[in-house]
């Protein structure tokens, strides 16, 4: 139906799009560049598959190399979706050099579809959806064209004396193909929507192991559960989203704005050694065992929460930190997971299927009283010479530096003093030089020589300074929540929002967060600059949030909301059937009626749209035909070309009747194939007929004589 070259280009596009799907999902730009280069070479060498393919030996060697490469990866570990997808990508690229028959085309199409599936298994990013929107209609069109080519190729192999006529294009056929493609794409989209909505969620989760639940994006970086100071380099400014947060008061009011920011604590690091902070040995800590499949985890002390954070981790690893606001009281999640938390510092960890994870954190932001009823807990003083003096300097003589002489109520004041001293006297910088002397303590080097650094230096300095004057302190790593999206009523947290701050013990097991990073720099780094770019970013962020919430995050409760069913009872299960029957008997018939009505409404809507479209198209076509018949001027012009009708009659008598579906020109070509003389004469007639019928003009005397003569000669042929 279309030329070989046009089909080849479309097939190449599908192959490249399939590979790009996976590259986007895996965020592998190197692979994407490789694909584009190789596809370009293949297109040049083989002219999009219409030229000579590479020799079989070369193809076999390439396939062997790809297989060995994959087996090598298998030897290093297990074969996962990434390895398999890369292997298929290589196969697709090799097949681009080996297009000899429709079977090769079918293989490329099939492998491209598998690449799409591999991409879906890898990540569910919005960019993937955009690519799929472009790829699916093209894929449908190419598959349908391929079927025609395959059938023609098979039949041609058994016919003789038939010249391939791949360049002949019929406008009617192209129009029908376009319409059919649109109908198929729209219908399959509608069916997929219905299946997507109706299919129950929550059944069979991980029944066959932990696979198939991809991240929204690839593994995130930025957050670290260790702090290593003294190493030069640049802190990541990556804008890759990590998680989404919606903050609510307990009455459901959403909290948010451009001026607010919050802290999500991840790792609690309480041991400073060799210029770095890490978590002390958990064997001595009060860590709870892994709690399985509970929906509500009571963490903190008994208190009523005043804030709820709904957090969506876009890509939680198998075992990862859960980020909470200080002070977390409880966590709830509808996804079956194992959660464990530290009984002392409430660091929370999660173990379960990697991928997207949604949970709610209930926390209390009210500052507890910092009265002490007993002596301070022992403090592990830092082994850094000169730190105490700096702490005394920071206190400015307003607070007693000796813990034995200082009131415990003043610990909070002392911590505040140190925090402000650091904020006002040091410079924040994302880029840091390495400490010149490896033996020197990096915190001391920051405080005495460099006087500039990133948040980890500030946090380490404050924590060490507090400890030097007998105040317990620890470094917290996590994220700053500051980028507010008014369109989605959520905050977006990115890799660049990773942050470090300090928690200080200000009372009996009472800890409070302090952030020594200069506030102006904190704002500059974590709050996006207002302007048109921020607005556009918010817009796309809202779209992405909608994608994540309603498509990627479509779950049983959303489904229940649409269908009006009970989210606790999956539709279709025996238990649900019994429960629903009981509910119906108890007067819950309205539930079923509503669900049935919802389904019927959706079905009828789609049917109505389809019927209205068909009626509109049919009426438009009928109007076109009717307008031609009723046109008196056209009728008058057509009277001049009665020779065309005579010619048709002559052809019928010669056994060459014109079928109704063929245009005059198509029929002239067809006649020419069978009878050159008759075809030439009829072509002359048709040429002039077209001028009258479609060109809107009358014939000159010479033209009229010419058309009559051609028709007469045709008549003579019959005799």
């Amino acid at each position: 139906m279309i030329s070989d070259l046009a089909f080849g280009k479309r097939l190449y596009t599908i192959a490249v799009l399939g590979a790009m799907l996976y590259c986007v999902a895996a965020w592998s730009m190197g692979l994407a560049l490789f694909v584009l280069v190789i596809a370009g070479v293949a297109a040049m060498l083989t002219r999009f598959g219409t030229g000579t393919p590479l020799p079989r030996l070369v193809i076999n060697i390439m396939i062997s190399l790809a297989t060995l490469w994959t087996l090598r990866n298998l030897a290093d570990g297990s074969l996962d979706v990434d390895d398999f997808s890369v292997f298929i990508t290589l196969l697709v690229l090799i097949k681009l050099f080996d297009m000899r028959s429709p079977r090769d085309e079918a293989q490329i199409l099939t492998l491209s579809v598998f690449l799409g599936l591999g991409a879906i298994l890898t990540a569910n990013a919005l960019e993937l959806a955009v690519l799929l929107v472009f790829m699916c209609p093209l894929l449908v069109s190419v598959v349908m064209q391929h079927q025609l080519r395959a059938g023609q190729w098979r039949a041609r192999g058994r016919m003789i004396d038939e010249k391939p006529d791949s360049k002949r294009r019929s406008p009617a056929a192209r129009r029908d193909m376009r319409r059919l493609t649109a109908l198929v794409v729209a219908s399959s989209f509608g069916i997929s929507v219905v299946v997507f909505i109706l299919f129950p969620r929550g059944l069979g989760d991980s029944a066959f192991g932990a696979w198939g639940n991809p991240a929204i994006r690839q593994q995130t970086t930025g957050f670290s559960d260790r702090v290593e100071l003294g190493i030069g380099g640049l802190i990541s400014e990556s804008h890759t989203p990590v998680l989404d947060v919606q903050i609510q008061r307990m009455d459901g009011t959403v909290i948010g704005g451009d001026d607010d920011h919050f802290y999500l604590r991840g790792a609690v690091l309480d041991q400073y050694k060799h210029g770095g902070w890490r978590r002390s040995n958990t064997a001595n800590r009060g860590q709870t065992p892994w709690r399985i499949n509970e929906t509500d985890f009571k963490i903190g002390r008994t208190a009523s929460p005043d804030r709820k954070m709904s957090i969506t981790l876009r890509n939680a690893g198998f075992q990862t930190h859960l980020f909470t606001e200080f002070m977390p009281l409880s966590i709830s999640s509808k996804q079956g997971q194992k959660i464990s938390w530290d009984l002392q510092d409430f660091q929370v960890k999660r173990k379960g299927q990697p991928g997207r994870f949604v949970y709610d954190v209930y926390s209390s932001t009210r500052r507890p009283t910092n009265r002490r009823s007993h002596d301070r807990n022992p403090v592990d003083p830092p082994d850094i010479t000169g730190l105490h003096a700096l702490a005394v300097e920071a206190l400015g003589g307003e607070v007693e530096p000796d813990p034995a002489l200082r009131s415990s109520d003043d610990d909070d004041v002392a911590a505040r003093k140190i925090e402000r001293w650091l904020q006002h006297n040091f410079t924040y910088s994302l880029e840091t030089n390495a400490a010149p002397n490896a033996a020197a303590d990096p915190t001391l080097w920051f405080l005495t020589e460099s006087r500039e650094g990133h948040c980890e230096y500030f946090a380490s300095a404050m924590a060490n300074m507090c400890r030097s004057i007998g105040i317990n302190a620890r470094v917290i790593t996590g994220y700053v929540v500051a980028e507010w999206n008014p369109l989605s009523d959520q905050y977006v947290v990115r890799e660049s929002n990773a942050h470090a701050w300090v928690e200080v013990e200000v009372g009996d097991d009472v800890w409070w967060p302090y952030d020594p990073t200069p506030p102006a720099d904190l704002r500059t780094i974590h709050h996006p600059e207002p302007g048109p770019l921020a607005t556009i970013s918010s817009f796309f962020g809202a779209i992405e949030n909608g994608w994540n919430s309603f498509i990627v995050g479509y779950d049983a409760s959303l489904r229940a909301g649409i269908l009006g069913t009970d989210p606790e009872r999956p539709w279709g299960s025996q238990e649900a059937a019994i429960a629903n029957w009981r509910r119906y008997k108890d007067g819950g018939g309205a539930l079923f009626i509503r669900a049935a009505l919802n389904g019927a409404i959706v079905f009828l809507l789609f049917t109505l749209i389809g019927l209205l479209s068909a009626v509109a198209v049919a009426r438009r076509n009928a109007r076109r035909e009717a307008s031609n018949v009723d046109d008196p001027k056209l009728r008058a012009r057509l009277m001049q070309v009665h020779a065309y009708t005579d010619a048709l009659e002559s052809l019928t008598m010669l056994g060459l009747p014109k079928p109704p579906s063929a245009t005059p020109l198509q029929h002239a070509r067809w006649v020419l194939d069978r009878n050159e003389q008759a075809g030439t004469l009829f072509a002359d007639v048709v040429t002039l007929f077209y001028r009258v019928r479609f060109g809107g003009r009358t014939l000159s005397d010479d033209e009229r004589r010419s058309i009559d003569a051609s028709a007469e000669t045709l008549r003579q042929l019959v005799r």
Binding site: M1, A106, L117, I120, L121, N124, L128, A129, V140, M144, H146, Q147, L148, A150, G151, Q152, R154, A155, R158, M159, I160, D161, E162, S170, A172, A173, D176, M177, L180, V184, S187, S188, F189, G190, I191, S192, V193, V195, F196, F199, G202, D205, S206, F208, G209, W211, G212, N213, P214, G355, I551, V552, A614, A618, G655, P659, P660, S661, R674, N675
Partner: protein
């Protein structure tokens, strides 16, 4: 002439499972399992799309095939070894749904008797490749034409029975076929070969011309008629007495001499030899008839052991009748006990006997005897013209074959 005993309205529609569809179903099931296991919503969507594709594949192909009707519009009459063209016209009676990707093929439908030679029962793979063609697009409420070209290797009766349209459009998952009963027959004429010209030329002295007065103008001595004199003509032709009576000069016209008469006797009754020998005998007889006709003979045919007898005549249509009867010769149907010879043979007629190794006829009565088992001695190994004789005036003709309309 090809026959069309009547179109049977039977249409058999079927769905066929094939490997791509089965693989597709397996992958769809895998998608469902993966979606349920991982609760991956995009996999649910992919599963829904796969289900949609399967449903639409069946609906589109099924609804398109429901309105498809096929008829043969023409079957060429060709000689063995020449391309035989069968033309089809596909009509799509669907109101909205166009039909795409139709493979049209003749379907195997064995006849009740399996013929040894000559009759092609549609058991493709033996004497005629299976005709198959492809229609890319048949618009809704419209039609399309296509043709299949095959090369029959043997002469005989070609029986066509059912025509099948198969389509796996749009996705190749489901194959739907629609078989229509369209019985028709055609004759494949004997292969065209070049016989040594001297075999025909020697017959020239045997068949005496001029023994019969013809009703055509010519230069024989037989009086034909009178017409007015034209300037420049020979004065010897003027008929003086009739001219005096008529008052104007009239000249005599004379009839054409009668052509030489040749009887070709095919003697294969009771032959138990190789099928190829019998076919060679038929081929020799046919080409002898053709070349003798071209040489101006009035050619007649007698098939020993059968009532097939054609008195010597001239004319293309007569020749074609001879060729058809030769093509339809079946030795098993010949009566090897029937008397030999014929009373129709005139004394001056030339006789050529063609046999396949076991003649029954009296060979001494023949002017020329051709033994098909030694056919190489009679034929020239140069490419023969692959054309049948030019038709006489009044006959319609297309390309190099005589086409017979097979339109109900």
């Amino acid at each position: 002439m090809p026959t069309q005993p009547g179109i049977d309205a039977r249409i058999v529609r079927r769905y066929h499972a094939h490997m791509p569809g089965l693989l597709y179903i397996i992958v769809t099931v895998f998608l469902a399992v993966g979606a349920i296991n991982g609760q991956n919503n995009l996999l649910f969507w992919a599963f829904g799309s796969a289900v949609g594709g399967l449903l639409l594949s069946g609906i589109v192909s099924g609804s398109a095939m429901m309105g498809v009707e096929i008829r043969r519009t023409s079957i060429d009459e060709v000689a063995a070894g020449e391309p035989l063209t069968i033309e089809y016209h596909v009509t799509n009676t669907n109101r909205f749904m166009p039909a795409f990707g139709l493979t049209i093929a003749e379907t195997v439908r064995p006849t009740s008797k399996r013929k040894r030679k000559g009759e092609h029962s549609g058991q493709w793979g033996h004497s005629i490749p299976r005709p198959i063609t492809f229609v890319a697009h048949a618009p809704a409420h419209g039609g399309a034409s296509a043709r299949a070209v095959v090369v029959p290797e043997h002469c005989g009766l070609l029986r066509l029975d059912w025509v099948t349209a198969v389509s796996s459009f749009p996705f190749g998952l489901v194959r739907k076929s629609s078989a229509m009963s369209r019985p028709a027959t055609a004759v494949v004429l004997p292969r065209v070969v070049r016989i040594r010209p001297e075999l025909i030329e020697t017959l020239g002295s045997a068949g005496v011309s001029g023994s019969v007065t013809t009703n055509r103008l010519g230069e024989s001595e037989d009086f034909y008629g009178l017409r007015e004199y034209r300037e420049g003509e020979s004065l010897r032709r003027i008929a003086w007495k009739p001219s005096a009576r008529a008052g104007e000069l009239l000249t005599r016209q004379f009839a054409a001499p009668s052509p030489r008469r040749l009887w070709i006797v095919l003697d294969v009754a009771g032959e138990t030899g190789a099928v190829d020998d019998i076919e060679r005998a038929v081929t020799l007889a046919a080409n002898a008839a053709r070349q003798a006709h071209d040489a101006g003979f009035a050619v007649g045919l007698r098939v020993s052991g059968s009532p097939v007898t054609h008195a010597p005549r001239t004319g293309v249509s007569h020749l074609l009748n001879l060729l058809r009867d030769l093509a339809l010769v079946e030795p098993r149907e010949l009566d090897d006990r029937s008397p030999v010879g014929s009373e129709d043979t005139a004394r001056n007629d030339a006789v050529m006997i063609v046999h396949a190794g076991a003649p029954r006829e009296d060979l001494s009565a023949a002017d020329t005897v051709l033994d098909a088992t030694r056919a190489d001695q009679y034929t020239l190994h140069e490419p023969a013209e692959s054309q049948l004789p030019e038709p006489a005036r009044g006959h319609q003709r297309r390309s190099s074959a005589i086409r017979h309309e097979v339109i109900p």
